[in-house]
Protein backbone atom coordinates (compact mmCIF):
# COMPACT_ATOMS: atom_id res chain seq x y z
CA UNK A 1 0.00 0.00 0.00
CA UNK A 2 1.42 3.32 -1.04
CA UNK A 3 1.67 6.13 1.46
CA UNK A 4 0.60 9.34 -0.16
CA UNK A 5 3.23 12.06 -0.21
CA UNK A 6 0.81 14.93 0.33
CA UNK A 7 -0.52 13.19 3.45
CA UNK A 8 2.98 12.84 4.90
CA UNK A 9 3.97 16.42 4.04
CA UNK A 10 0.76 17.84 5.52
CA UNK A 11 1.04 15.86 8.75
CA UNK A 12 4.72 16.75 9.13
CA UNK A 13 4.02 20.45 8.60
CA UNK A 14 1.25 20.47 11.24
CA UNK A 15 3.42 18.66 13.70
CA UNK A 16 6.47 20.89 13.27
CA UNK A 17 4.29 23.95 13.84
CA UNK A 18 2.66 22.51 16.92
CA UNK A 19 5.99 21.55 18.45
CA UNK A 20 7.82 24.66 17.35
CA UNK A 21 10.16 25.32 20.30
CA UNK A 22 11.33 21.76 20.77
CA UNK A 23 11.77 21.31 17.02
CA UNK A 24 13.80 24.52 16.92
CA UNK A 25 16.00 23.27 19.75
CA UNK A 26 16.69 20.04 17.84
CA UNK A 27 17.40 21.92 14.62
CA UNK A 28 19.82 24.34 16.32
CA UNK A 29 21.69 21.55 18.07
CA UNK A 30 22.04 19.67 14.80
CA UNK A 31 23.27 22.89 13.14
CA UNK A 32 25.92 23.67 15.76
CA UNK A 33 27.23 20.12 16.00
CA UNK A 34 27.40 19.66 12.23
CA UNK A 35 29.09 23.04 11.77
CA UNK A 36 31.76 21.88 14.22
CA UNK A 37 32.19 18.55 12.45
CA UNK A 38 32.46 20.24 9.07
CA UNK A 39 34.90 22.92 10.27
CA UNK A 40 37.14 20.36 11.89
CA UNK A 41 37.43 18.43 8.65
CA UNK A 42 37.92 21.52 6.47
CA UNK A 43 40.62 22.97 8.73
CA UNK A 44 42.36 19.64 8.93
CA UNK A 45 42.34 19.34 5.14
CA UNK A 46 43.73 22.87 4.78
CA UNK A 47 46.56 22.29 7.25
CA UNK A 48 47.36 19.03 5.56
CA UNK A 49 47.75 20.86 2.26
CA UNK A 50 50.10 23.45 3.70
CA UNK A 51 52.27 20.85 5.37
CA UNK A 52 51.86 18.29 2.59
CA UNK A 53 55.57 18.14 1.79
CA UNK A 54 56.36 17.20 5.35
CA UNK A 55 53.85 14.44 5.91
CA UNK A 56 54.95 10.98 6.98
CA UNK A 57 57.87 12.18 9.13
CA UNK A 58 59.85 13.60 6.23
CA UNK A 59 62.70 15.42 7.98
CA UNK A 60 64.58 16.94 5.07
CA UNK A 61 64.29 17.33 1.33
CA UNK A 62 67.26 17.15 -1.04
CA UNK A 63 66.61 19.41 -4.04
CA UNK A 64 68.69 18.62 -7.14
CA UNK A 65 69.69 21.31 -9.58
CA UNK A 66 67.27 21.48 -12.53
CA UNK A 67 70.16 20.56 -14.84
CA UNK A 68 71.58 17.79 -12.68
CA UNK A 69 72.73 14.85 -14.78
CA UNK A 70 71.13 11.48 -14.36
CA UNK A 71 74.42 10.12 -13.06
CA UNK A 72 74.42 12.74 -10.31
CA UNK A 73 70.83 11.91 -9.44
CA UNK A 74 71.62 8.19 -9.23
CA UNK A 75 74.59 8.88 -6.98
CA UNK A 76 72.39 10.75 -4.49
CA UNK A 77 69.73 8.08 -4.81
CA UNK A 78 72.26 5.39 -3.94
CA UNK A 79 73.52 7.38 -0.97
CA UNK A 80 69.96 7.69 0.37
CA UNK A 81 68.80 4.16 -0.39
CA UNK A 82 67.64 2.51 2.88
CA UNK A 83 69.28 -0.71 1.64
CA UNK A 84 72.71 0.94 1.64
CA UNK A 85 72.22 3.44 4.42
CA UNK A 86 70.82 2.15 7.71
CA UNK A 87 70.19 5.69 8.93
CA UNK A 88 67.44 6.13 6.35
CA UNK A 89 63.97 4.65 6.84
CA UNK A 90 62.35 5.75 3.61
CA UNK A 91 63.07 7.95 0.63
CA UNK A 92 60.67 9.19 -2.04
CA UNK A 93 61.83 10.60 -5.36
CA UNK A 94 59.88 13.50 -6.89
CA UNK A 95 60.53 13.80 -10.61
CA UNK A 96 59.90 16.97 -12.63
CA UNK A 97 56.34 16.02 -13.41
CA UNK A 98 55.37 15.40 -9.79
CA UNK A 99 57.21 18.51 -8.64
CA UNK A 100 55.38 20.64 -11.21
CA UNK A 101 52.03 19.26 -10.11
CA UNK A 102 52.72 20.19 -6.51
CA UNK A 103 54.07 23.57 -7.53
CA UNK A 104 50.87 24.39 -9.41
CA UNK A 105 48.80 23.42 -6.40
CA UNK A 106 50.74 25.50 -3.92
CA UNK A 107 50.82 28.57 -6.18
CA UNK A 108 47.46 28.10 -7.82
CA UNK A 109 46.40 31.63 -6.80
CA UNK A 110 49.40 33.20 -8.51
CA UNK A 111 48.75 33.15 -12.26
CA UNK A 112 51.88 35.19 -13.07
CA UNK A 113 54.17 32.74 -11.41
CA UNK A 114 52.31 29.82 -12.95
CA UNK A 115 52.49 31.18 -16.48
CA UNK A 116 56.20 31.88 -16.28
CA UNK A 117 57.25 28.47 -15.03
CA UNK A 118 57.49 25.27 -17.00
CA UNK A 119 57.81 21.68 -15.96
CA UNK A 120 61.38 21.60 -17.21
CA UNK A 121 62.33 24.30 -14.70
CA UNK A 122 61.27 22.18 -11.77
CA UNK A 123 63.96 20.74 -9.57
CA UNK A 124 63.76 17.04 -8.83
CA UNK A 125 63.97 16.13 -5.17
CA UNK A 126 64.29 13.35 -2.60
CA UNK A 127 62.06 13.38 0.47
CA UNK A 128 63.90 11.65 3.21
CA UNK A 129 62.54 9.99 6.31
CA UNK A 130 65.48 9.10 8.54
CA UNK A 131 65.55 5.99 10.69
CA UNK A 132 67.32 7.89 13.45
CA UNK A 133 65.75 10.39 15.82
CA UNK A 134 68.81 12.42 16.80
CA UNK A 135 68.32 15.92 15.32
CA UNK A 136 72.08 16.57 15.36
CA UNK A 137 72.85 13.50 13.28
CA UNK A 138 70.02 14.23 10.85
CA UNK A 139 71.31 17.73 10.41
CA UNK A 140 74.83 16.42 9.75
CA UNK A 141 73.53 13.97 7.18
CA UNK A 142 71.72 16.76 5.37
CA UNK A 143 74.68 19.08 5.42
CA UNK A 144 76.88 16.38 3.91
CA UNK A 145 74.43 15.87 1.07
CA UNK A 146 74.52 19.59 0.34
CA UNK A 147 78.13 19.12 -0.82
CA UNK A 148 77.30 16.32 -3.26
CA UNK A 149 77.55 17.20 -6.98
CA UNK A 150 74.25 18.17 -8.61
CA UNK A 151 72.57 19.05 -5.30
CA UNK A 152 71.02 22.51 -5.25
CA UNK A 153 70.06 22.67 -1.58
CA UNK A 154 68.78 20.67 1.37
CA UNK A 155 65.69 21.92 3.19
CA UNK A 156 64.94 20.84 6.74
CA UNK A 157 61.54 20.44 8.33
CA UNK A 158 60.94 23.46 10.45
CA UNK A 159 59.92 22.71 13.96
CA UNK A 160 57.07 25.19 13.52
CA UNK A 161 55.63 23.17 10.65
CA UNK A 162 55.68 20.06 12.78
CA UNK A 163 54.12 21.93 15.64
CA UNK A 164 51.37 23.43 13.54
CA UNK A 165 50.57 19.97 12.24
CA UNK A 166 50.44 18.52 15.74
CA UNK A 167 48.35 21.34 17.18
CA UNK A 168 45.87 21.32 14.32
CA UNK A 169 45.45 17.57 14.71
CA UNK A 170 44.85 17.93 18.43
CA UNK A 171 42.37 20.79 18.00
CA UNK A 172 40.39 19.06 15.29
CA UNK A 173 40.24 15.88 17.37
CA UNK A 174 38.92 17.83 20.36
CA UNK A 175 36.38 19.61 18.14
CA UNK A 176 35.28 16.30 16.63
CA UNK A 177 34.83 14.72 20.05
CA UNK A 178 32.77 17.70 21.22
CA UNK A 179 30.74 17.55 18.02
CA UNK A 180 30.08 13.87 18.58
CA UNK A 181 28.57 14.57 22.00
CA UNK A 182 26.50 17.38 20.53
CA UNK A 183 25.29 15.10 17.77
CA UNK A 184 24.19 12.57 20.37
CA UNK A 185 22.37 15.38 22.18
CA UNK A 186 20.76 16.39 18.89
CA UNK A 187 19.60 12.81 18.34
CA UNK A 188 18.08 12.70 21.82
CA UNK A 189 16.35 16.05 21.31
CA UNK A 190 14.86 14.83 18.05
CA UNK A 191 13.77 11.64 19.78
CA UNK A 192 11.98 13.70 22.42
CA UNK A 193 10.38 16.11 19.99
CA UNK A 194 9.01 13.14 18.05
CA UNK A 195 7.78 11.64 21.30
CA UNK A 196 5.97 14.90 22.05
CA UNK A 197 4.52 14.93 18.56
CA UNK A 198 3.22 11.41 19.07
CA UNK A 199 1.78 12.36 22.44
CA UNK A 200 -0.02 15.32 20.87
CA UNK A 201 -1.51 12.98 18.30
CA UNK A 202 -2.16 9.98 20.56
CA UNK A 203 -5.93 10.03 19.86
CA UNK A 204 -5.38 9.99 16.14
CA UNK A 205 -2.85 7.18 16.52
CA UNK A 206 -5.36 5.21 18.59
CA UNK A 207 -8.03 5.61 15.91
CA UNK A 208 -5.56 4.76 13.16
CA UNK A 209 -4.68 1.50 14.91
CA UNK A 210 -8.38 0.69 15.43
CA UNK A 211 -9.35 1.13 11.81
CA UNK A 212 -6.36 -0.90 10.60
CA UNK A 213 -3.73 1.57 9.42
CA UNK A 214 -0.43 -0.26 8.99
CA UNK A 215 2.41 0.38 11.40
CA UNK A 216 4.44 2.02 8.65
CA UNK A 217 1.61 4.32 7.72
CA UNK A 218 1.52 5.53 11.32
CA UNK A 219 5.30 5.74 11.66
CA UNK A 220 6.39 7.33 8.40
CA UNK A 221 5.12 10.88 9.07
CA UNK A 222 7.00 10.93 12.38
CA UNK A 223 10.20 9.60 10.85
CA UNK A 224 9.85 12.13 8.06
CA UNK A 225 9.54 14.84 10.70
CA UNK A 226 12.84 13.70 12.26
CA UNK A 227 14.48 13.65 8.84
CA UNK A 228 13.30 17.20 8.13
CA UNK A 229 14.66 18.43 11.48
CA UNK A 230 18.05 16.90 10.72
CA UNK A 231 18.05 18.30 7.20
CA UNK A 232 17.04 21.81 8.23
CA UNK A 233 19.78 21.75 10.88
CA UNK A 234 22.36 20.67 8.31
CA UNK A 235 21.65 23.57 5.94
CA UNK A 236 22.97 26.51 8.04
CA UNK A 237 25.91 24.33 9.06
CA UNK A 238 26.68 23.72 5.39
CA UNK A 239 26.59 27.46 4.67
CA UNK A 240 28.94 28.12 7.60
CA UNK A 241 31.42 25.53 6.39
CA UNK A 242 31.28 26.92 2.87
CA UNK A 243 32.15 30.39 4.20
CA UNK A 244 34.96 28.94 6.27
CA UNK A 245 36.34 27.35 3.10
CA UNK A 246 36.38 30.70 1.24
CA UNK A 247 37.98 32.45 4.22
CA UNK A 248 40.78 29.90 4.31
CA UNK A 249 41.42 30.28 0.60
CA UNK A 250 41.50 34.07 0.83
CA UNK A 251 44.05 33.95 3.62
CA UNK A 252 46.34 31.90 1.40
CA UNK A 253 46.28 34.25 -1.60
CA UNK A 254 47.32 37.41 0.23
CA UNK A 255 50.98 36.42 0.18
CA UNK A 256 50.98 36.38 3.90
CA UNK A 257 54.35 36.82 5.51
CA UNK A 258 53.63 33.73 7.57
CA UNK A 259 55.00 31.06 5.27
CA UNK A 260 52.64 28.40 6.49
CA UNK A 261 49.56 30.34 5.38
CA UNK A 262 50.72 30.37 1.77
CA UNK A 263 49.88 26.73 1.31
CA UNK A 264 46.72 26.90 3.39
CA UNK A 265 43.80 26.14 1.09
CA UNK A 266 40.96 23.71 0.54
CA UNK A 267 39.73 22.66 -2.87
CA UNK A 268 36.11 23.10 -3.87
CA UNK A 269 35.78 19.34 -4.13
CA UNK A 270 36.89 18.88 -0.55
CA UNK A 271 34.47 21.50 0.77
CA UNK A 272 31.59 19.92 -1.13
CA UNK A 273 32.47 16.43 0.07
CA UNK A 274 32.40 17.70 3.65
CA UNK A 275 29.09 19.53 3.06
CA UNK A 276 27.42 16.49 1.49
CA UNK A 277 28.68 14.31 4.34
CA UNK A 278 27.24 16.82 6.83
CA UNK A 279 23.83 16.76 5.16
CA UNK A 280 23.83 12.97 5.17
CA UNK A 281 24.85 12.89 8.85
CA UNK A 282 22.11 15.42 9.69
CA UNK A 283 19.45 13.31 7.97
CA UNK A 284 20.77 10.15 9.61
CA UNK A 285 20.65 11.67 13.10
CA UNK A 286 17.06 12.75 12.44
CA UNK A 287 15.95 9.41 11.08
CA UNK A 288 17.68 7.39 13.79
CA UNK A 289 16.31 9.62 16.57
CA UNK A 290 12.76 9.40 15.28
CA UNK A 291 13.05 5.69 14.45
CA UNK A 292 14.02 4.98 18.05
CA UNK A 293 11.09 7.14 19.19
CA UNK A 294 8.51 5.35 17.03
CA UNK A 295 9.74 1.87 17.91
CA UNK A 296 10.02 2.62 21.63
CA UNK A 297 6.82 4.58 22.14
CA UNK A 298 4.49 3.41 19.38
CA UNK A 299 3.93 -0.22 20.23
CA UNK A 300 1.25 -1.45 17.92
Amino acid sequence: MAIKLDYVVRETGHSLKRNFTLSLASVLTVAVSLALVGSAFVVRAAVQHSTARWTGDVQFIVFMKPDASSAQISAVRNALDPDNNTQIAKVTFFDKKRAYKEFREVFRDDPVLLSTSRQADMPTSFRVKPAIKNAELINQMGQQLKQAPGVYTVEFAYDTVKQIERVSKLISTVILATALFLLAAAGLLILNSIRMAMFARRREIEVMKLVGATNWFIRVPFMFEGLIQGLIGALPAAVAVWFLGTRINNSGSTHSSVAILQGLYVSGGEVWTVIIAMIIIGCLVGVVGSAVAVTRFLDV
Binding site: E204, K209, V211, G212, F217, V300
Partner: protein, 225 residues
Protein backbone atom coordinates in the same frame (compact mmCIF):
# COMPACT_ATOMS: atom_id res chain seq x y z
CA UNK B 1 -17.29 -16.14 11.99
CA UNK B 2 -15.90 -15.90 15.54
CA UNK B 3 -14.81 -18.87 17.62
CA UNK B 4 -13.30 -18.86 21.09
CA UNK B 5 -11.68 -22.06 22.30
CA UNK B 6 -11.00 -22.24 26.04
CA UNK B 7 -9.76 -18.66 26.13
CA UNK B 8 -8.26 -17.29 29.36
CA UNK B 9 -6.80 -13.88 29.95
CA UNK B 10 -4.73 -13.30 33.07
CA UNK B 11 -3.34 -9.82 33.63
CA UNK B 12 -0.26 -8.98 35.66
CA UNK B 13 -0.66 -9.68 39.33
CA UNK B 14 -2.83 -12.75 38.78
CA UNK B 15 -5.97 -10.85 37.81
CA UNK B 16 -8.10 -13.28 35.84
CA UNK B 17 -10.27 -11.29 33.44
CA UNK B 18 -11.50 -14.23 31.42
CA UNK B 19 -11.39 -17.90 32.29
CA UNK B 20 -11.85 -20.85 29.99
CA UNK B 21 -14.34 -19.08 27.74
CA UNK B 22 -15.62 -20.91 24.65
CA UNK B 23 -18.20 -19.64 22.20
CA UNK B 24 -19.08 -19.93 18.54
CA UNK B 25 -20.65 -16.97 16.78
CA UNK B 26 -22.00 -17.48 13.25
CA UNK B 27 -21.89 -14.99 10.40
CA UNK B 28 -24.67 -12.43 10.63
CA UNK B 29 -25.47 -13.07 14.30
CA UNK B 30 -26.25 -10.34 16.81
CA UNK B 31 -24.80 -11.17 20.22
CA UNK B 32 -25.10 -9.33 23.52
CA UNK B 33 -22.36 -9.73 26.11
CA UNK B 34 -23.88 -9.00 29.51
CA UNK B 35 -22.65 -9.08 33.07
CA UNK B 36 -21.55 -6.72 35.85
CA UNK B 37 -18.53 -4.45 35.60
CA UNK B 38 -15.30 -6.40 35.70
CA UNK B 39 -16.93 -9.60 34.47
CA UNK B 40 -14.73 -9.71 31.36
CA UNK B 41 -16.94 -8.17 28.64
CA UNK B 42 -14.46 -5.54 27.56
CA UNK B 43 -11.57 -7.99 27.72
CA UNK B 44 -13.44 -10.27 25.35
CA UNK B 45 -14.02 -7.38 22.92
CA UNK B 46 -10.35 -6.38 23.13
CA UNK B 47 -9.25 -9.95 22.48
CA UNK B 48 -11.36 -10.15 19.33
CA UNK B 49 -9.54 -7.34 17.50
CA UNK B 50 -6.19 -8.38 18.93
CA UNK B 51 -5.77 -5.33 21.12
CA UNK B 52 -4.90 -8.00 23.67
CA UNK B 53 -3.67 -11.55 23.26
CA UNK B 54 -5.11 -14.45 25.25
CA UNK B 55 -2.95 -16.07 27.93
CA UNK B 56 -4.37 -19.48 27.04
CA UNK B 57 -6.64 -20.78 24.30
CA UNK B 58 -7.19 -19.65 20.74
CA UNK B 59 -9.50 -17.31 18.90
CA UNK B 60 -10.60 -17.76 15.30
CA UNK B 61 -11.94 -14.92 13.20
CA UNK B 62 -13.26 -15.76 9.73
CA UNK B 63 -11.68 -19.20 10.05
CA UNK B 64 -8.20 -17.90 10.92
CA UNK B 65 -6.42 -18.39 14.23
CA UNK B 66 -5.60 -14.78 15.10
CA UNK B 67 -3.02 -15.93 17.66
CA UNK B 68 -0.93 -17.13 14.71
CA UNK B 69 -1.20 -13.79 12.96
CA UNK B 70 2.13 -11.99 12.59
CA UNK B 71 2.06 -8.45 13.92
CA UNK B 72 2.25 -6.79 10.51
CA UNK B 73 -0.97 -8.56 9.49
CA UNK B 74 -2.95 -7.32 12.50
CA UNK B 75 -3.96 -4.04 10.77
CA UNK B 76 -5.49 -6.09 7.95
CA UNK B 77 -7.50 -8.10 10.48
CA UNK B 78 -8.75 -4.84 11.99
CA UNK B 79 -9.93 -3.58 8.60
CA UNK B 80 -12.53 -6.33 8.81
CA UNK B 81 -13.58 -5.43 12.34
CA UNK B 82 -15.32 -2.15 13.11
CA UNK B 83 -15.19 -0.84 16.67
CA UNK B 84 -17.57 1.41 18.58
CA UNK B 85 -16.96 2.62 22.14
CA UNK B 86 -18.79 4.24 24.99
CA UNK B 87 -16.64 7.39 24.67
CA UNK B 88 -16.97 7.61 20.84
CA UNK B 89 -13.23 8.30 20.30
CA UNK B 90 -13.88 11.04 17.74
CA UNK B 91 -11.16 13.48 16.67
CA UNK B 92 -12.31 16.85 17.99
CA UNK B 93 -10.36 18.98 15.54
CA UNK B 94 -12.01 17.37 12.54
CA UNK B 95 -15.48 17.70 11.11
CA UNK B 96 -17.99 14.85 10.97
CA UNK B 97 -17.06 14.21 7.35
CA UNK B 98 -13.32 14.30 8.08
CA UNK B 99 -13.69 11.93 11.03
CA UNK B 100 -15.33 9.31 8.84
CA UNK B 101 -13.05 9.97 5.85
CA UNK B 102 -10.03 9.59 8.15
CA UNK B 103 -10.78 5.89 8.59
CA UNK B 104 -10.56 5.33 4.84
CA UNK B 105 -7.69 7.75 4.28
CA UNK B 106 -5.34 5.99 6.69
CA UNK B 107 -5.87 2.60 5.08
CA UNK B 108 -4.97 4.09 1.71
CA UNK B 109 -8.35 4.10 0.01
CA UNK B 110 -8.37 6.25 -3.16
CA UNK B 111 -9.99 9.66 -3.15
CA UNK B 112 -12.94 8.77 -5.36
CA UNK B 113 -13.87 5.88 -3.06
CA UNK B 114 -13.76 8.20 -0.05
CA UNK B 115 -15.87 10.80 -1.84
CA UNK B 116 -18.65 8.31 -2.59
CA UNK B 117 -18.54 6.10 0.53
CA UNK B 118 -18.46 8.81 3.21
CA UNK B 119 -21.63 10.70 2.14
CA UNK B 120 -23.41 7.36 1.66
CA UNK B 121 -22.62 6.13 5.16
CA UNK B 122 -23.44 9.52 6.74
CA UNK B 123 -26.79 9.32 4.99
CA UNK B 124 -27.30 5.80 6.39
CA UNK B 125 -26.69 6.91 9.98
CA UNK B 126 -28.92 9.97 9.48
CA UNK B 127 -26.29 12.69 9.60
CA UNK B 128 -26.37 13.86 5.98
CA UNK B 129 -27.10 17.41 7.13
CA UNK B 130 -24.32 17.58 9.72
CA UNK B 131 -21.31 16.64 7.62
CA UNK B 132 -19.49 19.94 8.23
CA UNK B 133 -20.20 20.17 11.96
CA UNK B 134 -17.52 19.66 14.56
CA UNK B 135 -18.06 16.83 17.09
CA UNK B 136 -18.63 19.25 20.00
CA UNK B 137 -21.56 20.76 18.11
CA UNK B 138 -23.38 17.42 18.15
CA UNK B 139 -25.48 15.65 20.78
CA UNK B 140 -24.19 12.44 22.37
CA UNK B 141 -26.41 10.31 20.17
CA UNK B 142 -25.22 12.09 17.06
CA UNK B 143 -21.59 11.66 18.09
CA UNK B 144 -22.16 7.95 18.54
CA UNK B 145 -23.68 7.84 15.05
CA UNK B 146 -20.51 9.41 13.67
CA UNK B 147 -18.44 6.79 15.42
CA UNK B 148 -20.67 4.01 14.05
CA UNK B 149 -20.35 5.53 10.57
CA UNK B 150 -16.56 5.52 10.97
CA UNK B 151 -16.58 1.89 12.15
CA UNK B 152 -18.85 0.77 9.31
CA UNK B 153 -17.68 2.89 6.37
CA UNK B 154 -15.21 0.21 5.29
CA UNK B 155 -18.04 -2.42 5.39
CA UNK B 156 -16.36 -4.72 7.92
CA UNK B 157 -17.50 -8.31 8.46
CA UNK B 158 -17.74 -7.77 12.20
CA UNK B 159 -18.82 -4.82 14.34
CA UNK B 160 -17.69 -4.79 17.97
CA UNK B 161 -19.49 -2.39 20.28
CA UNK B 162 -18.33 -1.85 23.86
CA UNK B 163 -21.22 -0.27 25.78
CA UNK B 164 -22.19 1.99 22.86
CA UNK B 165 -25.23 3.33 24.76
CA UNK B 166 -23.44 3.68 28.08
CA UNK B 167 -23.34 7.48 27.87
CA UNK B 168 -26.74 7.99 26.26
CA UNK B 169 -30.29 8.47 27.55
CA UNK B 170 -32.86 5.69 26.89
CA UNK B 171 -34.58 7.41 23.94
CA UNK B 172 -31.32 8.12 22.17
CA UNK B 173 -30.19 4.57 22.91
CA UNK B 174 -33.18 3.17 21.07
CA UNK B 175 -32.12 5.10 17.96
CA UNK B 176 -28.58 3.74 18.21
CA UNK B 177 -29.92 0.19 18.60
CA UNK B 178 -32.10 0.60 15.52
CA UNK B 179 -29.01 1.63 13.61
CA UNK B 180 -26.96 -1.35 14.87
CA UNK B 181 -29.87 -3.64 14.00
CA UNK B 182 -29.94 -2.21 10.52
CA UNK B 183 -26.22 -2.79 10.11
CA UNK B 184 -26.70 -6.34 11.37
CA UNK B 185 -29.35 -6.93 8.68
CA UNK B 186 -26.77 -6.19 5.96
CA UNK B 187 -25.04 -9.41 7.06
CA UNK B 188 -22.54 -7.87 9.48
CA UNK B 189 -21.91 -9.85 12.65
CA UNK B 190 -22.46 -7.61 15.68
CA UNK B 191 -21.04 -8.27 19.14
CA UNK B 192 -22.16 -5.76 21.74
CA UNK B 193 -21.17 -5.56 25.38
CA UNK B 194 -23.84 -3.83 27.44
CA UNK B 195 -25.31 -3.08 30.85
CA UNK B 196 -28.60 -1.97 29.45
CA UNK B 197 -31.31 -4.37 30.61
CA UNK B 198 -34.11 -2.67 28.64
CA UNK B 199 -32.28 -2.94 25.34
CA UNK B 200 -31.42 -6.61 25.76
CA UNK B 201 -34.96 -7.46 26.83
CA UNK B 202 -36.53 -5.62 23.88
CA UNK B 203 -34.21 -6.93 21.17
CA UNK B 204 -34.42 -10.62 22.18
CA UNK B 205 -31.15 -11.70 20.57
CA UNK B 206 -28.50 -14.19 21.64
CA UNK B 207 -27.14 -13.37 25.09
CA UNK B 208 -23.80 -14.48 26.52
CA UNK B 209 -23.61 -13.73 30.23
CA UNK B 210 -20.27 -13.39 31.97
CA UNK B 211 -19.55 -13.45 35.68
CA UNK B 212 -16.05 -13.02 37.10
CA UNK B 213 -14.51 -14.04 33.80
CA UNK B 214 -16.60 -17.16 33.22
CA UNK B 215 -19.37 -17.66 30.69
CA UNK B 216 -22.34 -18.65 32.87
CA UNK B 217 -25.08 -18.49 30.22
CA UNK B 218 -25.31 -18.62 26.43
CA UNK B 219 -28.91 -18.32 25.32
CA UNK B 220 -30.54 -17.75 21.94
CA UNK B 221 -33.24 -15.03 21.91
CA UNK B 222 -32.35 -14.37 25.55
CA UNK B 223 -33.11 -11.68 28.11
CA UNK B 224 -30.80 -9.78 30.44
CA UNK B 225 -31.39 -12.10 33.36
Amino acid sequence: MIKLEAVSKIYKGDVTALQDASADIAKGEFVFLVGPSGSGKSTMIRLLNKSETPTYGSIYVAGKDIGELSSWKVPFLRRNIGCVFQDFKLLNSRTVYENVAFALEVIGRPKHVIETQVPAILDLVGLAKKTDNMPHELSGGEQQRVSIARAFVNRPLILLADEPTGNLDPTTSVGIMRLLDRINRTGTTVVMATHDRAIVDTMRRRVIELDRGRIIRDQARGVYE
